[in-house]
């Protein structure tokens, strides 16, 4: 085999066989026209395909606000564990999930919602009215009503959910915003 003699290897394709680069012959012109057209078609198709494939990176996340009812039902100074059903849309699948959150208010106007799991190892903590503290039964982590750590093994304050008031109703987004 004379495949490795490298004789034709200095030059890719027909284009370099042309003697003078200034003169554009019929063959060169057609080659360039075909390459240009092909590039346009390939670019259009690739852009579409690549856009389709990478679109999850740029998609706006669904904001899954959950309605917890009239804000007036929450009393200042006594945190309430609210149970709710969350409808989640996962592309072509819609699922329902039972979940809960602790809602705390000090003045009946501003609300804080906590993930009901202790930040230590995920146990469900409870409210102790006598000491006004959240107490985790598993490893005695203790939190203040604003989520701050009092004592125990918790690595960070309680995780919070985003809240907002809409027409007098309390809405929360049950996705933990970790507080460092």
């Amino acid at each position: 085999m004379s495949g490795a003699d490298g004789a034709g290897c200095g030059c890719a394709g027909k284009g370099c066989a042309e003697k003078s680069p200034e003169e554009i012959g019929r063959r060169t012109f057609l080659t360039r026209a075909i390459v240009a057209l092909g590039a346009v078609i390939t670019a259009a198709l690739s852009a579409t395909g690549i856009g389709y494939f990478v679109s999850p990176a740029f998609q706006r996340r669904d904001e899954d606000w959950v309605d917890l009812g009239p804000a007036g039902t929450f009393k200042a100074g006594s945190p309430a564990l609210v149970e709710f059903t969350q409808r989640k849309r996962d592309a072509w699948v819609t699922s329902e999930r039972r979940s809960s959150a602790w809602v705390v208010t000090s003045d009946g106007k501003t609300f804080t919602a906590f993930d009901p799991r202790c930040t230590h190892l995920g146990c469900p903590y409870r409210w102790d009215a006598g000491t006004s503290r959240f107490v985790c039964p598993c490893h005695t982590a203790i939190f203040k009503p604003d989520g701050g750590i009092v004592s125990g093994p918790a690595p960070r304050p309680l995780d919070q959910y985003a809240t907002k008031l809409e027409g007098g109703r309390l809405m929360i987004m049950p996705k933990a915003e970790q507080k460092a």
């Binding site: 490795a4 290897c9 200095g10 856009g51 389709y52």
Partner: protein, 227 residues
């Protein structure tokens, strides 16, 4: 920079014979075809171009499609309404499917009417007929996947037609459906055929077909007074 590119090309070329492959594929002699007749010789390439588009868009669709009766239709609707360029990609695959059949048949007609299937190109013709059957297989299996009314009843009709075969008909229909009636196993079966078996067979046969096309060279268009 240019120097290095040339060196890199020479390195690859010396080890792979890229220049010879290029010459054999792209700079081979082809017969002269005057005027619009020349266009008839692009039909095979056009079909292959569509196959490439189908392969790419098919992969993209598969990233968001579920071949299961409870999610197939919803996932197709999700592609159409939620995914960026989803309608374009599905549209390309839909129309590509139609035109793949059209161009394959036109290509076959050109080969037939110009007598290009004759000695020594009979094997090329046979591979081509095999490819046409594979394309029809793609059409039949792909048509079911959207799992809408049209897809469902078309496949009921299609599998019932297969069931009319004497003696072994009901067995063939059961094998196609994966069950004694249309249902979940039909969809997974058609999907597996459509995305795994048929593409592999088609890619292989395209390889054979193209090798033979280049091996024999393109047949010249028939001339007046020539045998």
């Amino acid at each position: 920079m240019r120097e290095r590119a040339t060196q890199a090309y020479a390195w690859v070329c010396e080890r792979t014979g890229l220049d010879k492959i290029w010459t054999a594929l792209m700079e081979r002699k082809i017969p002269e075809a005057k005027g619009w007749t020349g266009l008839l010789f692009t039909l095979g390439s056009a079909t292959m171009m569509i196959f490439t588009v189908q392969a790419v868009t098919g992969f993209l669709l598969a990233t968001n499609y579920v071949p299961s009766p409870d999610h197939a239709y919803d996932s197709v609707r999700y592609i159409d309404s939620q995914v960026l360029f989803g309608r374009v990609v599905r549209g390309l695959h839909h129309w590509g499917a139609t035109f793949m059949v059209v161009f394959a048949v036109l290509h076959m007609l050109r080969v037939y009417f110009m007598g290009s299937y004759k000695y020594p190109r009979e094997a090329t013709w046979m591979a081509g007929v095999g490819l046409l059957l594979l394309v029809l297989g793609f059409s039949f299996t792909g048509y079911l996947l959207p799992w809408d009314q049209k897809a469902y009843w078309a496949t009921v009709v299609g599998t019932t037609i297969a069931g009319q075969t004497p003696v072994v008909g009901s067995m063939i229909a059961d094998i196609l459906r994966g069950s004694d009636a249309m249902g979940a196993p039909t969809l997974t079966r058609f999907y597996a055929l459509h995305v795994l078996l048929l593409p592999a067979l088609t890619a292989g046969l395209i390889g054979v077909h193209l090798f033979l096309v280049i091996w024999h060279g393109i047949s010249a268009p028939p001339k007046r007074d020539a045998p």
